[in-house]
């Protein structure tokens, strides 16, 4: 299986990355090289094997904790927004979305 230039543009769109033509060409080569070593994976029979999404579930039952539904954070809007590229009146500014 080989990826095509169309695959690369489709994935780049999904990943919200604008690629220059030279970058797309290089990535196409890189991805195809990479998926060559992935081939050995599909040859293994994994029927009936449970996926290991989080490592400790290899040895124990892992349950995600739920915390109490109480307020734990105080309002720190200015501190939280100090590294934002564009803010006004405490709001994050983005280009107009709704006409």
């Amino acid at each position: 299986m080989s990826l095509t230039p169309d695959d690369v543009s489709r994935i780049a769109h999904l990943a919200r990355l604008e690629l220059q033509p030279a970058e797309s060409a290089a990535l196409l080569g890189n991805l195809n090289d990479f998926f060559e070593i992935v081939g050995q994976m599909s040859a293994v029979d994994t029927a009936g094997v449970e996926p290991l999404y989080t490592p400790l579930s290899a040895i124990e039952q892992v349950q995600l904790r739920l915390r109490d539904d109480v307020v734990t954070e105080t309002n720190q809007r200015e501190l939280n927004q100090r590294s934002a590229p564009a803010v006004e009146d405490g709001l994050f500014l983005v280009p107009k979305v709704i006409e």
Binding site: Q20, F34, V44, T54, P55, P85, A86, P95
Partner: protein, 496 residues
Amino acid sequence: MKPVHDMGVAELAAALKSRALSSREATQALLSRIATHDPALGAFLHVDADVALARADAADAVLAAGHAGALTGVPIAHKDIYVTADMPTTAGSRMLAGYRSPFDATVVARLNAAGTVGLGKLNCDEFAMGSANENSAYFPAHNPWDRSRVPGGSSGGSAVAVAARLVPGVTGTDTGGSIRQPASFCGITGIKPTYGVCSRYGMIAFASSLDQAGPMARSAEDCALLLAAMSGFDERDATSVNKPPQDFHAQMRAAREGATAAQPLRGLRIGLPREFFPAALSADVNAAVRAGLAELEKLGATLVDLSLPRTELAIPVYYIIAPAEASSNLSRFDGVKFGHRAAKYDDLLDMYKKTRAEGFGEEVKRRIMIGSYVLSHGYYDAYYLQAQKLRRMIADDFQQCFTQCDLIAGPVAPTVAWKHGEGKDDPTQAYLADIFTLPGSLAGLPGMSLPVGTGAGGMPVGLQLIGNYFQEGQLLHAAHALQQATDWHQAAPAGI
């Protein structure tokens, strides 16, 4: 008294406690050493003398009052992947140039509370993606043993800072080997604990089911002191392990049952997976690792031949899972709430695409592309799900091995540190060099690297020890016993 830079964490803490030296003096000595040597090494992305000296003065007050803990007043530095409220955090990326976090990562907060003095932030591969520190968006770091060579990565700046004796101990992070491999390349000691032992809160996420914090220093003892302060349950990390805090330093020193003074490791079974010693392993690395194993045998350990049959498969499995998680984690960098935003764009979608195109480097884009592809409709089962099933099989293989041994040993990497620029043209080839660190990462097991001599070009070689879940104490105990009997960990690069 020795010069400050020649003292390790434990030694420096003792000198501070005895008041032979103040934290301010130690901090000033190391700050001036950084100013002299770091321009040629590139270990630090940021140094803040004012913040450091203020913390040193606070530590001196605690020391004067006689309330000092194990680390009070000891200067350290943090990998720039940990967010810090008092210094900038970039994750080695242009995306976060100038970013100031509103809070401290839990690991940083705990080390601050223990009285350590953070001098600055350490260079790393962008978002911890890389094995040579050449993916830093700012500048590469150089191996102090030979500056024409890489220090390893992604915690490359961390390893350089310790090896060049700019600080006695540092924090690193390890997703697929990012503590162990640079520790090996720079001749220092590093430990990645069991997944969940250190909080990931405030550690900028790369691959959340793999990322772990850990210390790097000159000795197992120094690592034990730092790990004890860094680790422990944190309710802010959903995968933090809820177990009582552990005294790794005490575990490191506790005598084994049946041990003698000459044979402190008597009865310890060390497994050697055949797959960790393939024909392609460099002869110099093999020789140094075997020398380390021979010392462990002298100390009473027995070596057991065994197999981890899916070692090679760990490469594609890791390089599917880690990029998949990365593509999801890095979607937060969209130019809205923090970080870089493109100057010119047509609309919201175009802003996202241009911002991310400008903010991310080549390797990060490559991994986001791999991750987005393997998670996309029609490919998920064949790649991501299949990889997670194989991950279970790899973890089960380890459990099978641990019925026959207590620890597993092997090389950290197939070669010593390579020259700058080598391997940059073929990223897939570079991934193959992670073969010995990836299996333990996928399983979430604790692993260490400790120096066992030198190979080609006089470059350091690390021995990897892997323990079963929550056996950090056993790992540190074996490493400490080896370091008590040998002096490989005391070797320092010339000319610094």
